[in-house]
């Protein structure tokens, strides 16, 4: 007589098998019945594994921890909405500025013609471009300051992470991914404006953000340690704070528009 295999017994226990065949055999085979009894006892042991009982206040505790995270998430998505709108405007304004700049420097026949016979339209264009340079500078400061705030939060979370355990960075990784794109635009813009301090900070920041954005959902202890080392060795957190304070100071002087610039 062919006995039931271990696999068949397990399937039988969970009612995942051809019940008739297994039951017919079990009815006649003491050995397989004994095997099944052992299996039942083992699985019954596992049923006894206690689950710590949480008291009635647990839900409230969970909410208290959670509320803070949800709050920062909502703020972040608002700030990000604003930043991406400004970044898009900035990029457009910047490209527009470059084209205009190139046009006047290269003295193309059309530009020469325009210079020789200054038309009211050309004069108006020049005026609007010079005023847009001023407002673009203010924009750069505002967006860079928000950008540095967001980056600082991520760096802080990483620096404070316990490098002994793997770390879930699903949300940090996503945020870093969003920041990489804007970081690139700001770095290039800052470099072209001669804002070397901001440009150099942003170019230190970029590889860390990039690495984080590619890290997936979890950082192993090794990866945490290596990122922490990089943040430390460049004094990145400190620099971010210094430049952030500097930018905020300039921001005040130039009387930048208030941060809620959703109209842009």
């Amino acid at each position: 007589m062919q006995h039931l295999t271990e696999e068949q017994l397990v399937a039988h226990y969970y009612h995942d098998a051809d019940a008739v065949t297994a039951e017919a055999h079990l009815a006649t085979c003491e050995e397989c019945r004994a095997q099944l009894a052992t299996l039942r006892s083992v699985l019954a042991l596992i049923d006894q594994l206690p689950i710590p009982e949480k008291n009635g206040a647990y839900g409230e505790e969970v909410w208290t921890r959670l509320r803070w995270k949800l709050g920062s998430e909502r703020r972040r998505s608002r700030v990000w909405g604003t930043i991406s709108a400004i970044a898009a405007a900035l990029a457009l304004a910047f490209i527009g500025g470059m084209l205009w700049h190139a046009g006047t420097q290269q003295s193309s026949p059309a530009a020469v013609a325009a210079k020789n016979t200054p038309s009211p339209a050309a004069a108006a264009q020049t005026a609007s471009n010079s005023s847009s340079v001023v407002s673009r500078d203010r924009l750069l400061l505002v967006v860079v300051s928000d950008h540095l705030d967001s980056s600082e939060r991520i760096l802080l979370e990483l620096s404070n992470a316990d490098a002994k355990h793997p770390l879930d960075i699903t949300s940090e990784s996503r945020r870093a991914g969003e920041l990489v794109a804007s970081n690139r635009i700001y770095r290039q813009t800052a470099a072209r404006r001669g804002e070397t301090r901001i440009a150099s900070l942003l170019s230190d920041l970029e590889p860390v953000l990039l690495e984080l954005s590619h890290a997936g959902s979890t950082l192993s202890p090794d990866e945490i340690a290596s990122l922490q080392k990089r943040i430390d060795s460049k004094g990145l957190l400190f620099k971010v704070r210094v430049v952030s304070a500097q930018v905020n100071g300039q921001d005040g002087v130039t009387k930048a528009p208030p941060k809620g610039m959703d109209s842009l």
Binding site: Y14, L43, L66, P166
Partner: protein, 193 residues
């Protein structure tokens, strides 16, 4: 839960008070799933947090006719699975955990000598926990979903992203490992092969 329906719909429209009510009424059930899956309280607490965070982000994808508890349960299982997988990747990097296997062997030999039921029941908790730790992330998930949650094999396969036959085999491997670890602790039967 029928009362969930109105609350869920308020939470979906951005009412934080409604979301708070959902968190408070589902925290303990979510913890129980998370604890079974992760096997430790600290991880389970983290999974509960992550579950509600994901639920909050995905709330607009939740179909109002579905059961909120079931939906949340699935998120909790996935969060736990992510954690177990990440943990096992990290363990591999650090060369596994030979200590716990050794511990299980030693304790097994001891308990055969001692038949004091109280001693055994105290020890059993550790034994069962240790036996569960020997399971891989997929084995543990498949086993818990089948054994405790009574989830059909097809559903478990979808959760793990594997075929039905592979799922059955994963459940079987889990049970075999558990049996290997725990059989010394159950009264031995005369017909052991």
């Amino acid at each position: 839960m029928t009362t969930d329906l109105a609350v869920v719909s308020r939470a979906r429209s951005g009412d934080p008070e409604a979301f708070r009510m959902l968190v408070e009424s589902h925290s303990r059930a979510t913890f129980r799933v998370a604890y079974r899956m992760t096997g430790n309280e600290h991880d389970a607490d983290d999974v509960v947090q992550e579950t509600f965070l994901r639920a909050y982000r995905q709330l607009r994808h939740f179909e109002e006719r579905a059961d909120f508890g079931t939906w949340l349960h699935r998120i909790a299982v996935n969060c736990s699975l992510d954690l177990l997988r990440a943990r096992s990747r990290a363990d591999k990097q650090y060369g596994g955990d030979p200590e716990s296997a050794e511990l299980a062997g030693a304790a097994g030999a001891r308990s055969e000598a001692q038949q004091d039921r109280l001693m055994i029941s105290a020890e059993l908790k550790t034994q069962v926990a240790t036996a569960m730790k020997r399971l891989s992330a997929s084995e543990r998930t498949a086993f818990i979903l089948r054994h405790f949650e009574g989830m059909p094999v097809e559903e478990i396969g979808k959760t793990l992203g594997i075929q039905v036959s592979a799922t059955k085999h994963t459940i079987f491997r889990a049970v075999r490992k558990l049996r290997e670890s725990l059989e010394p602790f159950v009264r031995s039967t005369p017909c052991n092969t």
